[in-house]
Amino acid sequence: MMHIIINILSVFCLLTGLIFFIGGAVGIMRMPDFYSRLHPAGKLDTLGIFTMVAGLVIYNFHHLSLGVVLLSIKMFLIVFFVFLASPTATHSIVDAGMRAGLRPWTKKKEKE
């Protein structure tokens, strides 16, 4: 009974993370501008990593021991590092674009 609950939770988390990743990828494809492309890339990828790693950690709890708990803590350390690193990288890319003189996209005026 416990195994079935763990499996269902893990499958739910993994599918939710995959949906977040697909949303981020479609946003990167279809946004009109460089700065607006950074918005799905920065947010949805971070949340997708968190949800998918949470699903894998839940799957770890099938057989509980000290090594498995240490492994789960290590996997959440990856998530913690990505939560720190991804906004920093996004900010750095935006800074490079602003200093290189890349203007933000505006709606084009209609021809006279």
Binding site: I28, M52, I78
Partner: protein
């Protein structure tokens, strides 16, 4: 459950195609950088899934951590490098 993990891994690989298009066809250099960053963040999860498929998660967690760190450092270094480059604005309308 292992079969389900391999299905999720294939789905991640198919999801990587869209940022790969942005890498190849991006109008400016920074667009390609955004695509590389998105592919790297998907690869971290893909490495963990590969660890489950081979039954060696304890080894692949270290590889995934090293890959995340390498991706972060590469994006920082490349964006510092493209600071000084002028003319990105004209390049974005060359399509």
């Amino acid at each position: 459950m292992i079969y389900f993990f391999s299905c999720i891994a294939v789905g991640l690989c198919l999801t990587m195609i869209l940022p790969l298009y942005r890498c190849l066809m991006g109008p400016t250099v920074l667009d390609r950088l955004v695509g590389v960053n998105a592919i790297g963040s998907k690869t971290v999860v893909l490495l963990l899934l590969i660890g489950y498929l081979y039954g060696r998660v304890d080894m692949f967690v270290d590889i995934a951590l090293a890959y995340a760190f390498l991706n972060f450092v590469a994006v920082l270094a490349a964006s510092r490098y493209f600071h000084k480059r002028k003319g990105l604005y004209e390049e974005s309308f060359m399509e």
